[in-house]
Structure formats: C-alpha cells, structure tokens
C-alpha cells in the first residue's frame, strides 16, 4: 500500500470495496477510482487502441490521456477516465483496451435540463474563480459559479499552499461559506461547463448521483445539462500541465508532475516509491520536494535548463535530491507484465545535441514540460490566442465582449495574482521555463498522443505528405481526437510540427477548440426528450375510443391517427377492404379531427383569401363551402382544402393535417409583410374543432337520425353547403363535403363534446352497420377518385394543371399568389409530369409507391429513360383490383397506353387511365 495514513481529503475511517479487472480492492470516500488504484500500486489500466501497448494513469483529472476504464456496475458505461470517476462502494470497473462496450439494456436513469440566467457566470472554483465570484456577489450581482470537481478549491486541493499564513483550503472554505450567504448566488460543484457559445450562453453538465453508486436515489436525475445565459462569463478554468516527448514516454508510471502532487495532497497516495522528475520549469520541484517529504525516494530532478532555480536547488539539497541541470530523459524501460516504468535513460542536452548518458532505476517518472492555460471556453466563444514566448504557451489575446479570463487560464501562474492580492504569501520568485517539445530520439517511439498511439513519426509522415496546417495534421494523425481532445497533446503537437517545419509555433497556431470540453453522454444531452417525449404526440379527443376499439395507429406528423380497425383475424388488407366497402355501399365514419383549421376574421378576410387561393373565395356565400388550392409564388401547389364561409367577414379554412402550420404561417407572412393594410386576424382552431366525416349512401339516414330538425334532402341541403344545428343542446356544424366521392357529411363539434357526439353518430348509424374507418381506407377512397394528397402525390414541383385541376384556378382574378408563374413557358410545357391512374394488367400487383415508370417492356441499357413514378398505390374493393396514381411525363396524352413498372426483378405492365377511377361522372355525390 502506498496510502499515507491521515493524509489527504479522504475519509480514512471508512473503507469501501470495489472491483477492478476482477480484483477486489478497497478505497475511501473522497477517492477517485484512480487514486484508489494507485493506493494499491496499480498504474496500468489497459492497453492502447492500435498498438496494444500498456497504458496507465497519467494525470489526476480530465486531462489524463491514458487511464481509460469501462464501468460495469452500477450501469455499463464505456470510455471513462479513472481519474474523474468518484469511487463508491460496490463499483465494478475494468481497464480498457482501446474500445468500450455500450450497455445492451436501456439506461433507466433520469436525465434532465435546467435553465439559469446570471449577471456573472464564473467557471472554475479555484483561487481566481472564487475571488471573481466573491467580488461579483459582494457587489450584489446574480452569480452562478460552476466547478467540475467534487469540491471547490481547484489546484489548491492538490497542493500544500498557504494563504495569509493559514492553509489555503481554510480560505476556500471561508469563501464557499460566504458565497452561500448570498441569496442570488448559485454554486454548483461536479458541474463542468463544456460549451461556450454566443452572447454568454454556456452549457454545463451537472453530475448529481453518479458518485453515489448503488445508493443513488431513483427520483433524482443522474445528470442534467444547465443552459446558462450570463451577461458576463468569467473563465477561471486553470491550466493543464503538459509533458515533454521522449522515447517510450507512454508507459504506466509516467505521470505529469502536478498529478502526482495532487494524488499526494488530496488523496494521501504516493504514486511511487522511487521517482525521477524531468522538468523544464520550476513547478515540478514542488512535486519532487513534497513526494520526498512523504517518503518517496526521489533519485534525481532532471532540469533541461542550464540553471536550476536557487530556491528549489537548496530545497532539494536539504532533502538529498540530486538536481542535474541540462539533463533530459531520452528513454525508458518497463517491467514485464504491467509494463510499468522500471528505469529511465538520461543524457545531457546542449544546443539540441545529446551528450553523456546515464541510467536511473525508478517506478515513477514525473514529467513537466510547462503549462497550457485551459483557454477552451474562451476559444470556443471566438476568442483569439497568441503564443507567449515567456510562458511557452498559448494565452488569450485581445478582448471578447462579455468574457473575462482570470487566473492561470489567463497565464497568471502565481497564487497572489490569482487571488488579486498583495503577494505577501508569495513563494520563491519564479524563473523562466524552457520551451522543450521533444527530446532528440527515434521518432517512431516518441508518443505525442498516447490515447491515439500517434508518434512524432506520424507527424513527420503528415508533413511529408505535404500538410502544413495543424488542422490537417490533426486529422491525418488523429492527434487530439481522443476522449481528452488533446488537452495535453494538442499544443505539444503544434510545437513539434513547428519544429519540423522550421517555423515559429506562434505563426503556426494551434487547433480550434470546440465543445464539448469533456465528453458528455448523449443521454444527458437528450434529457427528458426521449421516447414519447422526444417530439410532442398529438391525439384527438377520441383517442381513448380508438385505443379501446383496437385501432392500429400511424404517425401523421405529430398526430397519432387510427390507420385501420382490424377485427379478429383481419390483417390490414382485409380490414381496409371491409372498411372501404362499407363506405361505398353503406356508411362509414372517420375521425378527421386532425385536419388543420384556421379561423379567418376581419372586414378584409375575403380579400386575403382571394389573394392566397388560386380560386375565387369572395364570391362564396355564407352557408356554403368551396374547395381551394394554395400555391407558392412559383406556382407549385402548397396545400389544399375546403373553405367554409361563416359570415361576410369570417371564414373557416380547412388545411391538410400536415399543412396546418405551414398555411397559417404562409398567410401570416403575407399579411404582415406585404399587405399590412388588410384588416384580418388569423387563429388556429385545429384543436378546438373535432371533425367526423360520415361517408356513404346511407350517411343521409344517419345525419337525419342525429339531427332530425335539419332537412337533409338533396334539394334543401345541397352539396357544398353547411348547416348549424344542435345535438342534445350541443352546437354542431354539418357540412356536405366529400373526400370520397360518396354522399358525405362532415360533422364538426367543439372538441369537448367530441366523444358524446361521436357516440350519438354510432348509435344513429347502428341500423346501417356504420363502420369506423382509418386513414388507410380514407386514402383508398380518395385515390379511387383521383384526389391528390399534397406532399404524397405532389412534391413541390407540381402545379394545379399537372393535377388536372385547371378548374380550381380562377381566370377572373387579376392576380393571386402564383398566378404569374402559371404563364411561364415551362409551366405550359405539355411534357410536364401529370397525375394519372395506373391499372396493373395482371390485376394482382400492388405497385410499390415510389416505383419508376418506363415505356418499354424490357429493361434497356442504362441510362433508362424514366417517365415518372408511382405516388399512391392501393388494393381497391370497388374496382376488384389494385390501382395506383402516378406522375407521368405527358401523362394525360398517354391515357390508354401500356407502360411498365419495374417491381423486384420483373416489369409489370400497366394501363394508363384518367386519375378518376371510381364514378367518374360524379353520380354518387348526392346519394
């Protein structure tokens, strides 16, 4: 064990059991999986994805490129970092060899989303972030403070720093307590700001119960995404230490120097017994000194610089740690089995040339190649970066409105600077770091991105292939594309590319930082928007009746519509043949409530509709209904439906089910942007009106029984008229319109009374065996009559003439939307595709919708001339055979011809007919 009793912020008195790679191990509350593994001397977590080389824990938090694990219990989750998994009792995990495993059972945990608005959002609860949050809170601002760790403190959690003569964490506790005293401060730990977008919009992932393991309460969401909009965003996200690249730098036991210091101070874990420290700057000396004080034998500090800082040299000498300046690590050796580092090769490095070599045995190699400010959130929002030669790192450059970068993230590396206070507590004066990206050596063994097995040789290959941009090299080598998104490797890659190209790194730049900062599960992004809540489901007032009746539903846009009502033993074909026979011979009834309805009111209502519809609506008399077509300015059909004139200044416009929103938006757009002088108001009343078409030769008897006070004779209640009446005191509007060619009445009623009126209709229809039918039968009935469905038989390139609907286009009106386009030469082209009927000559094949149509009875060599395609196709009870509607080039001129439709491997011969196949004379309309 390398756990130090009493050290760190873990609860040594409580022991938890967990399983890793089948081994039962122990840890303490406050541990991460990584710290608990290191406490047992386990560095290796798995193998690399391509080369199968041993991989281990390389840092103490999300920047770790190596320590990937798969969690198995409590719920399988792949590709997690051991360093960011908070340990809990009963955790079962195993090391990953490249790829993880998704759960094969649904994730039953809840995920959610929250919204917050703030004057100031502070990201990061380290010294700089806490200072910013305190300053804003004291000024009375509404503050949100988020931090990705389990507790506030940031880097202070992993050091022995002091503030004002007391442990720094005392200052952190006081700051957190003070923030808690402000009612307008929201402080969220375990919350990672992962995306920074326009105008102060930040997404943050809060992990609420994952750390509780099996004890997580079911009623609390596991994670939730905060959508935060802030006037000011303070980015106080700290910095990531980066390594230096040398041969075989990818072994377990090789770790960032700050990581080992964090494992020591925060978790009371010594990451090794025999350490070597390799650094290019001052900060790693603190790791060496602290580890030595904790009992690790530090065999050498190898400082690549010519001079060691005097303060730290003295501190090392006091502890007997040899400091070797001008020295670097050139390679490593590993232990059999785990591959953990067992020795390092060192050499002097002067003017880029390696000199005198040596070998030091060790089980821990700490590396520090400098610090990269975590500028991700600044950069994501469009902030520019510049390379600071003094720091050897990219830092924020210039202003970004509403964004402030504070502390280490801004390149301020001393604690006093982060606290915005007098440097009375300051430690030793810093000395400049050396920028060293890599040590000379065999490129193919020098790993730039250990998560991707990408080496210096891969970069050289990319450059050899002619690539010069870091973005191109990234994509060619995959450097920076793993779970860590290159937190430790990205800038190193830039440095090595610059070095190999002989250009300054400040000119080359670095790759663009994109969200998310750390991986976010799709489940969290989806939140509650999954399953039935993914998209709103709309149901009619009769939905429960349909369900009870055993309807098979289909989705029509967001609506759930009954497709057919199978009787025992019936499949869809059988049910639809029965339902459509009933509607043509007896009486059927449909729930047509999903039809769009728009209440058009105002003195200029008729003027608006005359401009929107292709036909004349102003001449419609109150009490009557007219079918109309709406076109775009390009003259192509947009929607169709009936228009019912309620009064001089009021119309009820029916749209298709799918076109309801489109038509309302379309009318609003013209009204607001082109004709604001028209006094018209539009309101959607789709949900308010329930609509029940009662269809078939016996429908008159049903309506007469429902509303005996209405004279239903053909003379008194003609086609395309409507009448208001009451049923049991409930106002009901009955319109004689037909979408089937049969005698039909549409019964409209306030949706609150829909179930009652529906039941009355069923009662009234019982003597006639009234048959409820669904959308499939509705389609068959309308297709037999050649009535197109906009969006199925049309596709935005079909004009009214193409549908044979010249009769619906007014010649009287001087203008309406689309009229001018009808006069274009192309719109008059007789070779345009036109809607026709098709009858398969074998009287058996139901042509698949979408099938192509050709003119020859054998398939010619490609390219095959296509004449059109099948748009609707059904079995017809009335015709006793299948039929189809199709858009066919010059279709109306082809009526009577035989064309061919490839179906499977065969060609099916079809006769071209007019689009109206049932009752072309319209004799059934009046019953």
């Amino acid at each position: 064990m390398t756990r130090l009793p009493g050290r760190g912020r873990v609860d040594h008195d409580t022991t938890w059991r967990f399983t890793f790679d089948g081994r039962e191990l122990t840890g303490h509350p406050g541990d991460t999986l990584a710290s608990a593994l290191l406490a047992h001397g386990v560095h290796r977590t798995g193998s690399s994805v391509n080369l199968g080389r041993p991989r281990g824990i390389g840092a103490a938090w999300a920047e770790d490129p190596g320590g990937l694990v798969q969690v198995e219990e409590p719920f399988p989750e792949p590709m997690l970092l051991a360093t960011t998994i908070e340990l809990h009792d009963g955790l079962v995990a195993r090391g990953l060899s490249g790829r993880g495993r998704l759960a094969d059972v649904p994730d039953s945990a809840r995920y959610d989303r929250m919204h917050a608005h703030a004057d100031v959002l502070v990201v990061g609860a380290g010294p700089a972030g806490l200072t910013a949050a305190l300053t804003a809170a004291r000024a009375g601002a509404r503050v949100v403070l988020v931090d990705e760790q389990s507790e506030a403190g940031g880097d202070l959690l992993g050091t022995a720093d002091r503030i004002a003569g007391a442990p720094a964490l005392d200052w952190v506790s006081a700051a957190v307590a003070e923030l808690r005293s402000y009612p307008d401060v929201r402080h969220l730990q375990r919350t990672t700001a992962f995306g920074h977008y326009d105008d102060g919009f930040v997404l943050a992932l809060e992990r609420r119960t994952g750390h509780l393991g099996l004890a997580a309460p079911r009623h609390v969401s596991r994670q939730r995404v905060w959508r935060i909009r802030a006037r000011e965003v303070v980015v106080a996200t700290g910095a990531h230490e980066r390594p230096v690249v040398f041969c075989d730098n990818d072994r377990p036991g090789i770790m960032l120097a700050s990581g080992a210091r964090t494992f020591l101070h925060r978790y009371g874990v010594r990451a090794g017994c025999d350490a070597v420290v390799f650094t290019t700057g001052d900060s790693a000396y603190a790791s060496a000194v602290d580890l030595a004080d904790a009992g690790t034998r530090v065999h050498a500090v190898l400082d690549a610089r010519a001079e060691a800082p005097a303060y730290w040299r003295a501190e090392c000498e006091r502890r007997g740690i040899p400091v070797r300046t001008g020295h670097v690590v050139t390679g490593t050796e590993g232990t059999e089995g785990t591959g953990r580092v067992s020795a390092v090769s060192t050499a002097t490095l002067r003017d880029g040339v390696l000199g005198e070599a040596a070998r030091i045995e060790c089980d821990l190699l700490l590396v520090s190649g400098g610090w990269n400010p975590a500028v991700h959130l600044f950069s994501q929002a469009g902030g520019r970066l510049r390379f600071d030669n003094g720091l050897g790192a990219f830092v924020p450059s210039g202003e970004l409105p509403g964004v402030t970068v504070a502390g280490t993230a801004a390149g301020v590396f001393d604690l006093a600077g982060c606290l915005s206070r007098d440097p009375a507590d300051a430690g030793p004066a810093p000395t400049p770091p050396l920028v060293l990206w890599r040590v000379p050596g065999e490129q193919g063994r020098q790993f730039v991105d250990v998560a991707r097995d990408a080496t210096v040789a891969d970069i050289a290959r990319a450059l050899g292939a002619g690539m010069r941009s870091v973005e191109h090299v990234k994509r060619y080598t995959t450097i920076g594309t793993a779970h860590d998104q290159g937190k430790t490797s990205g800038v190193v890659a830039s440095g090595i590319i610059a070095e190999l190209l002989g250009t300054p790194v400040r000119e080359l730049g670095t790759t663009t930082f994109r969200p998310p900062y750390t991986p976010v599960a799709f489940a969290a992004l989806a939140g509650r928007s999954r399953g039935a809540l993914f998209d709103p489901e709309r149901t009619t007032a009769l939905h429960d009746w349909h369900v009870a009746r055993g309807a098979v539903f289909e989705d029509v846009g967001q609506w759930k519509r009954p497709r057919y009502y199978p009787r025992p033993g019936e499949d869809m074909d059988a049910a639809v043949l029965r339902e459509s026979r009933a509607a043509r011979r007896g009486v059927g009834i449909l729930d047509g409530s999903t039809l769009g309805k728009i209440d058009v009111q105002g003195p200029d209502a008729a003027v608006l509709l005359d401009r929107i519809y292709t036909n004349l609506m102003s001449s419609l008399r109150p009490g009557m209904v007219r079918y109309g077509v709406i076109c775009g300015v390009d003259g192509m059909v947009l929607d169709d439906g009936t228009v019912l004139r309620v009064a001089e200044d009021r119309f009820l416009v029916y749209t298709t089910t799918g076109g309801a929103a489109t038509v309302l938006d379309w009318m609003e757009e013209w009204l607001q942007t082109e004709w604001p002088e028209l006094r018209v108001h539009l309101t959607s009343v789709t949900e308010q009106w329930a609509t029940f078409p009662v269809v078939g030769p016996r429908s008159r008897d049903v309506i007469a029984a429902l509303a005996p006070q209405v004279d239903c004779s053909a003379g008194a209640f003609p086609f395309m008229a409507w009448r208001d009446t009451t049923v049991d005191g409930v106002p009901v509007r009955i319109a004689r319109v037909s979408f089937s060619g049969e005698l039909a009445y549409e019964v409209n009623v306030n949706a609150w009374y829909a179930p009652a009126v529906w039941e009355r209709l069923l009662d009234a229809g019982r003597p006639h065996d009234i048959t409820p039918y669904g959308t499939e039968t509705m389609h068959v009935l309308r297709a037999e009559k050649g009535y197109p469905i906009i969006g199925q038989d049309t596709d935005g390139t079909v004009a009214p003439y193409d549908l044979g609907m010249a009769w619906a286009v007014s010649r009287k009106k001087s203008d309406f939307v689309g009229k001018r386009s009808f006069a274009r030469v192309e719109n008059r082209n007789p070779l345009r595709k036109q809607l026709v009927g098709l009858l398969p000559l074998d009287r058996a094949t139901v042509l698949p919708e979408g099938s192509q149509i050709i003119g020859t009875d054998t398939l010619p060599e490609p390219p095959v001339p296509m004449l059109g395609h099948v748009t609707s196709s059904y079995r017809s009870a009335e015709l006793g055979r299948p039929f189809a509607l199709a858009l066919v080039r010059a279709g109306r001129d082809r009526i009577g011809q035989t064309l061919h439709v490839p179906v499977g491997g065969d060609l099916v011969a079809v006769e071209v007919t007019g689009s109206v196949l049932v009752d072309p004379e319209g004799a059934r309309r009046d019953g």
């Binding site: 977008y197 326009d198 105008d199 919009f201 909009r229 300015v633 390009d634 938006d665 609003e668 757009e669 607001q672 942007t673 082109e674 604001p676 001087s814 203008d815 009229k819 001018r820 386009s821 006069a823 274009r824 030469v825």
Partner: protein
Amino acid sequence: MQLIECPWCGPREEVEFHYGGEAHVSYPPDPSTLSDEQWARYVFFRANPKGRFHERWSHSAGCRRWFNAVRDTATYRFHGVYRPDEQKPVIP
C-alpha cells in the same frame, strides 16, 4: 446560440426565431406586366453579400411577428432590428 432582439419582445433565444430571407423584396405591383425574366428575378433571385445584409426574421415561437434585421453574414452578429413599417436604420 445568439440572443436576437425582437422589436416587440426584446432579446430572446435564437431557437425562437425563423429566418425569412432577404428583406425589402416587395411583391411586384402588377406581375402580369413583367417578362418571364423579370418575374423570375422576383421569385428566385436574392442578394448574397458577405457582410451587412438586410433580412427578414419571424419571432415564430414567440409573438409570431415579422421584423427586419441588419446582420453581418460573415460574423453572424446582428447590428440592428426594425419593424416592417420602419425605415432601414442607419448603422455606423
């Protein structure tokens, strides 16, 4: 996701809005007098500048009203919004 200033409602989330293409393309007073090409210019042709662009937006998930905006197509930033009955604003 930007905040877009609706002239009636104030700043609202971008997802509440719909884009409506170039502004100030008015419906021709008498389309029947136009040649096919002139008509096609109205129906199909729109400017596509890099930089400031006068365009239409609709607060479709809010007040459902249309308005005009001046937006930079290169930076996406809005430089001003105005109601359909207002003059184009002068933006420095």
